[in-house]
């Protein structure tokens, strides 16, 4: 049985002393946390260890001795060290020895009692593993919490050997609080013994944050109480509030600020990350907003903008008039029904005329409005962008009206046509049974029905053409608004803090990848996932990169981030299908709301932005949203106000990022987002921490072939000789599951 000794790199060159740490029997590993130097009084040592045990709930004990001396230790020292084993009884007793200035190490293990298991081999091997204490402490690789389907009283999930080590080091922070400048009874060496790491700024911030948070939290609660009062729930205001994206964005920001300044401490690292990401996003937002403000208010740009706005609106209206004149003629060589054409054309022209007069009425106030809008940028760039999007919506309101008229007319026509077509065939729609039944009509019913059917049929091209033209115009406006909303969502949900950590301190982000974390009860368990048919034509490295070892999730959505992005022909097919649905879908299959009627297209992430276009008022969370998101009708936590409570399209899945741990988007999630941030290693995101194998410059390369450098241990039961391995593992949690 191999005995693993985890030794901190900071203690490699300290003076001789006792090894203090924890023994994990089920993995037969000894985790050395610190070295306690001579001279010491055994009673005080035992007291200290008892205190540490009580404070940290980690079973620290004296594991053995550490000897760092000039030359070969004399017999007396050796016997003294062995005698210490009687003062601090521990089974097994570890003796590490290193020659000062040399590269020879010796590890011995002494078993006092006879091995209880007679079948265990008598020879023990010792594997010495060095770990960087600071980074192991700061990483988040800890054993998972108890799985939900186990009872609380059952044995806890057995933690992997390395997770137990990480957990031990992280929980023994109490031991690392004293440094060599403290006047204590014992002298310890660990990673902080040269001075406890702290920062004045951090301490000051921590002290100041209490009252500041309290004050701001009360202010924010006042603001939200005002916002929640009954006046705003009455019909006109609530309707307007729900349509304007500025109100939504303000509400969103208010939530964020409430989260940041809440006086409750974050319970786990996920919540802490979320808070930090929110802070970073708010700060970025305000910084960008102030930049925009200074740019706008300098050199009277607002005046220029205001002067340019009315002519632009006039120009747009003129272009629309030209378009309508063209439609009223013979557009693209098609022959329209003259009378209907003229009626519709004049109707829309009159609307444009009304619109132009409205714009001219508003023109003196434009500059003031723009100035105030510019002021709102100090609340954040997102607010300014949402205001911009609302202004665009208001300025193109006539296009929206035209679209609505055209859609209504077309919808009525299609309803009528389908119903009369059924009459023509002698069938009827049975509302009770929700199906088409045959029906015997009277002769006069048939006659009038056929007549009307013919009329509607021949008027169809005209109406269809108007509908198509205005729908495309509306699509254009929605596209522009969609881009603005995309930018706003980006700023809202980009996890800047996690990104910064990934770049500067990647070990802080190391965590259990999602595939190995305890799953929620309602998710089916993952299954073996073989490379799909689509990848069989790819070369193996490509298949590896694209799917052969995806983190397994039962829901297909997360797998999308590793699939090759859709080709242009796929996208155009999707758009064509959407248009087909728009024009020819039977009325009971069509969605019955006004925005666009485009069917939900495609997946949830970046490639689902055509779907975003369709849902102007129903923006779903971007993939980087650090909040664990699940729309309420999925039974999960409702976190983003952009997910509507009443999503009219039940087929659209709100994004459920479980490919990465919930605190940051990252990566998976892993392998991160569709914007193309790759995970660290080419072989994929869901591995555990990788120690980096280093070939150390001195020790084993020289000794490996020669056996003369090996230390022979004195006789003793069950002693072992460590073979100098060619490689020492340096434990470094560098792999990131973002």
């Amino acid at each position: 049985m191999v005995l693993k000794a985890f030794f901190p790199t900071c203690c490699v060159s300290v003076d001789s002393g006792l090894l203090v740490g924890r023994w994990v029997p089920e993995h037969s590993s000894a985790v050395v946390l610190a070295v306690l130097h001579f001279p010491f009084i055994p009673i005080q040592v035992k007291q200290l260890l008892a205190q540490v045990r009580q404070a940290s709930e980690v079973g620290v004990a004296v594991l053995g001795t550490w000897c760092h001396c000039r030359q070969e230790p004399e017999e007396s020292l050796g016997r003294f060290l062995e005698g210490l084993g009687a003062v601090f009884p521990h089974e097994p007793w570890l003796q590490l020895c290193r020659e000062r200035g040399g590269t020879l190490w010796s590890c011995e293990v002494t078993h006092r009692q006879a091995p209880t298991d007679p079948s265990a081999p008598g020879e023990d091997q010792v594997m010495l593993i060095f770990y960087d204490q600071r980074q192991v402490l700061l990483s988040q690789l800890h054993p998972p919490t108890v799985l939900p389907d186990r009872q609380a009283g059952a044995t806890p999930a057995s933690t992997g050997g390395l997770a137990a080590v990480f957990d031990t080091v992280a929980r023994s922070e109490v031991l690392f609080r004293s440094d060599r400048f403290d006047e204590g009874p014992v002298r310890l060496s660990h990673w902080q013994s040269e001075g406890v790491e702290a920062s004045i700024l951090a301490e000051l911030a921590r002290r100041a944050s209490g009252p500041v948070c309290l004050l701001l939290a009360s202010l924010l609660s006042l603001v939200s109480a005002v916002g929640a009062c009954r006046v705003f729930k009455l019909w006109p205001l609530s309707f307007v509030g729900s349509k304007l994206s500025t109100c939504e964005q303000l509400r969103h920001r208010l939530e964020h600020l409430t989260l940041i300044f809440s006086t409750r401490k974050a319970e786990n690292s996920a919540q802490l990350m979320r808070k930090a990401n929110t802070v970073a996003s708010v700060l970025l937002d305000v910084a960008l907003g102030l930049t925009l403000l200074s740019w706008l208010h300098g050199r009277s740009r607002i005046g220029h903008l205001a002067d340019a706005l009315v002519p632009v609106a006039d120009h747009v209206a003129e272009e629309l008039q030209h378009l309508l004149q063209w439609l009223m003629g013979a557009p693209a060589g098609l022959k329209m029904n003259r009378a209907l054409d003229q009626v519709l054309g004049r109707f829309f022209l009159y609307h444009i005329h009304l619109w132009i007069s409205y714009i001219h009425l508003m023109s003196p106030f434009i500059e003031h409005i723009l100035w105030h809008v510019g002021l709102s940028a100090c609340l954040g760039l997102t607010v300014a962008l949402s205001l911009l999007s609302d202004i665009i919506a208001l300025l193109t309101f006539h296009i929206y009206c035209f679209y609505v008229y055209g859609a209504r007319l077309y919808c009525l026509k299609i309803h009528g046509l389908s119903s009369l077509w059924r009459l023509f065939r002698g069938k009827k729609w049975n509302v009770l049974r929700q199906r088409v039944d045959s029906c015997s009509y009277d002769l006069d019913q048939l006659f009038i029905g056929t007549l009307l059917f013919t009329i509607l049929l021949f008027l169809l091209p005209t109406t269809a053409l108007y509908y198509l033209v205005f729908t495309l115009l509306r699509l254009l406006v929605v596209a522009v608004q969609g881009l603005i909303h995309l930018l706003v969502d980006l700023i809202n949900s980009l996890p800047l803090y996690s990104l910064g950590l990934r770049l500067c301190r990647p070990y802080r982000l190391a965590d259990k990848p999602a595939a190995l974390q305890p799953r929620d009860a309602h998710l089916p368990p993952p299954q073996l996932w073989l490379p799909p048919q689509g990848l069989l034509g790819c070369s193996v490295p490509q298949a590896v990169l694209w799917g052969a070892h995806l983190p397994l999730e039962a829901e297909r959505g997360q797998a999308g981030l590793r699939y090759p992005p859709p080709e242009w022909w796929q996208l155009s097919w999707l758009v064509a299908r959407a248009l087909w649905t728009l024009l020819y879908a039977p009325e009971h299959g069509r969605p019955s709301y006004h925005t666009l009627g485009l069917e939900v297209i495609g997946g949830e992430q970046m490639w689902g932005w055509p779907a975003r276009l369709a849902m102007l008022h129903h923006w779903h969370c971007l993939p980087w949203d650090p909040l664990p998101t699940c729309c309420s009708h999925h039974g999960g936590e409702h976190s983003s106000p952009r997910c509507p409570e009443h999503c009219p399209m039940p087929t659209l899945r709100t994004q459920v990022r479980r490919a990465r741990p919930p605190q940051q988007p990252p990566g998976g999630e892993a392998g991160w987002s569709p914007w193309g941030l790759p995970s660290g290693s080419a072989l994929g995101p869901s591995q555990d921490e990788p120690p980096r194998a280093r070939h150390p410059p001195a020790p084993s390369a020289k000794q490996h072939p020669a056996c003369g450098g090996l230390k022979q241990s004195p006789s003793g039961p069950g002693t072992s000789l460590p073979e100098p391995h060619g490689v020492y593992l340096l434990m470094f949690p560098g792999e990131v599951a973002l």
Partner: protein
């Protein structure tokens, strides 16, 4: 104890497998891939530059030529840094874990470590690539939720090789 053998991969390049035996509980396998051949590099560069020159004669814009040079340089750097694997190492330490290191031609190294407790088995997987059947070694990982299930399949080496040699290598690993 070192041992070196050479094989060939599915594209015909020479692979060198080096086995090192440090102790009964620690072994290392090192697979060295064929180097970037001068011939292919020259061919790609010449193609790109000839195409750029052709475009230049059409458009009379000298930016195309500089753009072609930049593209070639950046492409080569990107290829060396992200795609071209020089050497892959598999380090197996008993009762601790398996570590896979890939070092790229630009010097970048990426490592992955799998704890021994998570490894279920090592198997040889088959895949059909155009008209051939290729084999690659992969590690099966245990599923934390379901005790008999498999959570993941992790390929070990990114360079596939033909079956017989892989079987020999697997038999050696044991």
């Amino acid at each position: 104890m070192e041992d070196e053998r050479s094989f060939s991969d599915i594209c015909g390049g020479r692979l060198a497998l080096q086995r090192r035996y440090y102790s009964p509980s620690c072994r290392e396998f090192c697979l060295r891939c064929p180097r970037l051949s001068l011939r292919s590099l020259t061919a790609v560069t010449c193609t790109v530059w000839l195409a750029a020159y052709g475009l230049f004669t059409l458009c009379e814009n000298s930016m195309i030529l500089s753009a072609a040079i930049f593209i070639t340089l950046l492409g080569l750097l990107g290829y060396l840094h992200f795609v071209k694997i020089d050497q892959e190492t598999l380090l197996i330490i008993d009762s601790l874990g398996i570590q896979m290191t890939s070092s790229y031609a630009s010097g970048k190294e990426s490592t992955t470590f799998i704890e021994m407790g998570k490894v279920k088995d090592i198997v040889i997987n088959e895949a059909i690539y155009m008209q051939k059947v290729i084999y690659y070694l992969c590690i099966l990982l245990k599923d934390p939720v379901e005790p008999h299930g498999i959570a993941q399949v992790v390929p070990v080496f990114q360079v596939p090789s033909s079956g017989l040699q892989l079987k020999k290598a697997r038999g050696v690993e044991g």
